[in-house]
Amino acid sequence: MTTATTGTGQDARKTETARKPATMAQALNRAMRDAMAEDPTVHVLGEDVGALGGVFRITDGLTKEFGEDRCTDTPLAEAGILGTAVGMAMYGLRPVVEMQFDAFAYPAFEQLLSHVAKMRNRTRGRMPLPITVRVPYGGGIGGVEHHSDSSEAYYMATPGLHVVTPATVADAYGLLRAAIASDDPVVFLEPKRLYWSRADWSPEAPEPVAPIGRAEVRRAGTSATLVTYGPSVPVCLEAADAAREEGWDLEVVDLRSLVPFDDETVCASVRRTGRAVVVHEASGFGGPGGEIAARITERCFHHLEAPVLRVAGFDIPYPPPMLERHHLPGVDRVLDAVARLQWESEWTERPEAFEGGTR
């Protein structure tokens, strides 16, 4: 860098790379724009992604900048969108498809499960499909039915897919760029209630983030670990702040990537704290939390002071908007779970019991 004294040049550069408040939606939009500018094989397709810029405006301006051939409004048919994306990928393109809402992605399941997830395997590596399937997911936006599903468990249960979900503005950009660049198909779950969350971020010099497959400790703590992802990360951070009043110092692990799963970071945290609560919006039964709790138990059994607990959505169809607050895991429900982590039996904090000679 120059140490020139003229000042104006430096100021201009500063403005260019300055971090200023940006939304997750802006970061996602920028990620696609930069990917399209750098790689002419990147094509965006979906419903209303063109002139409208997507119902959440995530593809805003892409058709204007790159033309209809690069950012294409498709007929309204999700299996057709993903199915044609498969053919485009077979011919060397790198499609990024938008599913308008979580529950509207279901018609594309057969393409996703039978072809997208398996094509590399079926062809012994000859025909990888570098497709990114963007799915706005989760609740908390007052959406009427079929607009608030947490569908991650379906994708996680399908070998061959990567399942990624950002919780921060920086990750929204970094993970989406990584997903588009990946030679594997990535289901990219966008927590729609975080679309308008803000953070200081520079679109001209986005900060590098950890690769797909790595979790991040968002808040270091010593009492217990909250394992979470996507829309529940801010909830857990808020819960951790509130927990300080109760005397708990909670660690918050943001998984970022559900597949591949970062056992290492999660288990290192749980081994340090000895307690874990998994938090997500998806229904508990058969949900991601069961898998995560099992993985922690299998790997950290001797470090655990209490069973791994789950705070999840109820085992009900996603409720109508006027009732959704009762369904979504909130700060109080997280703190209640933390309170149930068998603190009363912790022997290390009661040396008198230890002196008694029995453990």
């Binding site: 048919a77 299996a79 077979m90 393409q111 039978s114 012994r124």
Partner: protein
């Protein structure tokens, strides 16, 4: 005061004149399945000889593959006996740079395109899901889920056109497959994007056991094209010259940038759905016999004999070549494929995940223990 309170002051504008966005008449399929054999039409003798060689080998290939299921060398074989004209023509109308999208019944089309039959049968042998490198002959993996490969053909053709490449994709599906949603979505996308795609429906009368009457109420499957704004063609699927011509025209049309075509070829599955099926439960032998009279191989041989294009020596040579092909296939399929269980983890992702590496190690240990037991070392444990 509103206009409604002022009688006579408000004249509703007449609605804009309506007319169909596309004139449906030119899209309508032929009233009768298009035929060439037996019509006295002018036909290229060289093409007929080529088609004949392929049909004879194709029939023998079907018989051999069915026999291999009985010998346990194929897990299953969905035969295209009786449908060879469609299989062969679909392969021969394409240029090398074009792409073929077969369904599970279409291994013969892949073979006719030049693929090693052992590779084409890999899926059905059970040692590899696809069995071949799709890029070698530009043949997509055989699709078992019905019609799901049709949007792939559309997407590939679309991508080729975006890149400025002169490539056509031909996708094959059965009558049953036309009921699937992906059939509809593929035709609609192809029509809207005007992709260079040809859809060949082999209407062989049955979706396993369910006859066409229980599948559709459409006037013909070719008529479905009109709803998408693309032309439908109806052809006698056992008349190899006619299928070849209709598909050639559709391919050329696609190549000229005029968009997709739907071709319905009326044919008949002479064998059961697969070796595991019992066709006597849902159809009469008498019906099968009528179709034997309209057999694609015999139709062509009759025509060529009448035209003096097929003497006994030529016919015998074609059948001898077919026997040789069958013998080679038999011999090679009788060799056990060499399989490495550790391959199971190789192509799930570009790079193995930590979890897959752990699972691979577990399997490796199991295999080592198995090996040790087989070597008599097991007793020591």
């Amino acid at each position: 005061m509103t206009v409604l309170e002022q009688p006579g002051a408000y004249r509703p504008a007449p609605p804009p004149a309506w007319r169909p966005r596309t004139d449906p008449a030119p899209l309508l399929p032929d009233r009768e399945p298009y035929r060439l054999l037996g019509t006295g039409a002018e036909l290229d003798p060289t093409l007929l000889r080529t088609l004949h060689g392929h049909l004879v080998r194709g029939r023998r290939y079907n018989r051999q593959a069915t026999a291999l299921t009985k010998q346990g060398r194929l897990a299953v074989y969905p035969s295209s006996t009786g449908q060879e004209a469609c299989e062969v023509a679909a392969a021969l109308v394409l240029e090398e740079r074009d792409w073929l999208f077969p369904s599970y019944r279409d291994t013969l089309a892949a073979v006719a395109r030049g693929m090693d039959p052992v590779e084409a049968l890999g899926l059905l042998r059970g040692d590899w899901h696809t069995g071949y490198d799709p890029y070698e002959h530009r043949v997509a993996p055989l699709s078992t889920p019905l019609a799901t490969h049709l949007p792939h053909a559309v997407g590939l053709a679309h991508a080729a056109r975006l890149k400025g490449d002169d490539v056509v994709a031909l996708a094959m599906v059965g009558d049953g497959g036309t009921s699937e949603g992906d059939f509809h979505e593929a035709l609609n996308f192809a029509a809207v994007w005007r992709t260079p795609t040809v859809f060949l429906v082999q209407n062989n009368g049955f979706a396993i056991s369910v006859p066409l009457a229980k599948q559709t109420a459409a006037p013909s499957l070719a008529h479905k094209a009109v709803g998408y704004g693309i032309p439908g063609r109806l052809v006698d699927g056992n008349d190899v010259a006619a299928v070849h011509q209709v598909l050639s025209e559709a391919v050329e049309r696609a190549r000229r940038g005029e968009g997709p075509t739907l071709v319905e070829a009326i044919t008949y599955r002479l064998d059961a759905h697969t070796n595991a099926d019992d066709a006597t439960r849902y159809r009469d032998d008498a019906e099968v016999e009528t179709w034997r009279e309209h057999d694609p191989v015999e139709l062509l041989e009759r025509e060529m004999t009448a035209r003096g294009l097929l003497d006994e020596a030529t016919r015998e040579r074609a059948h001898e070549e077919a026997e040789e092909m069958a013998a080679r296939l038999r011999a090679r399929m009788n060799e056990d494929p060499v399989l490495d269980p550790m391959d199971l983890f190789d192509h799930v992702y570009a790079e193995k995940t930590t979890q897959l590496r752990e699972q691979a190690e577990r399997l490796r240990a199991e295999l080592a223990a198995e090996g040790a037991e087989e070597n008599g070392e097991g007793d020591e444990r």
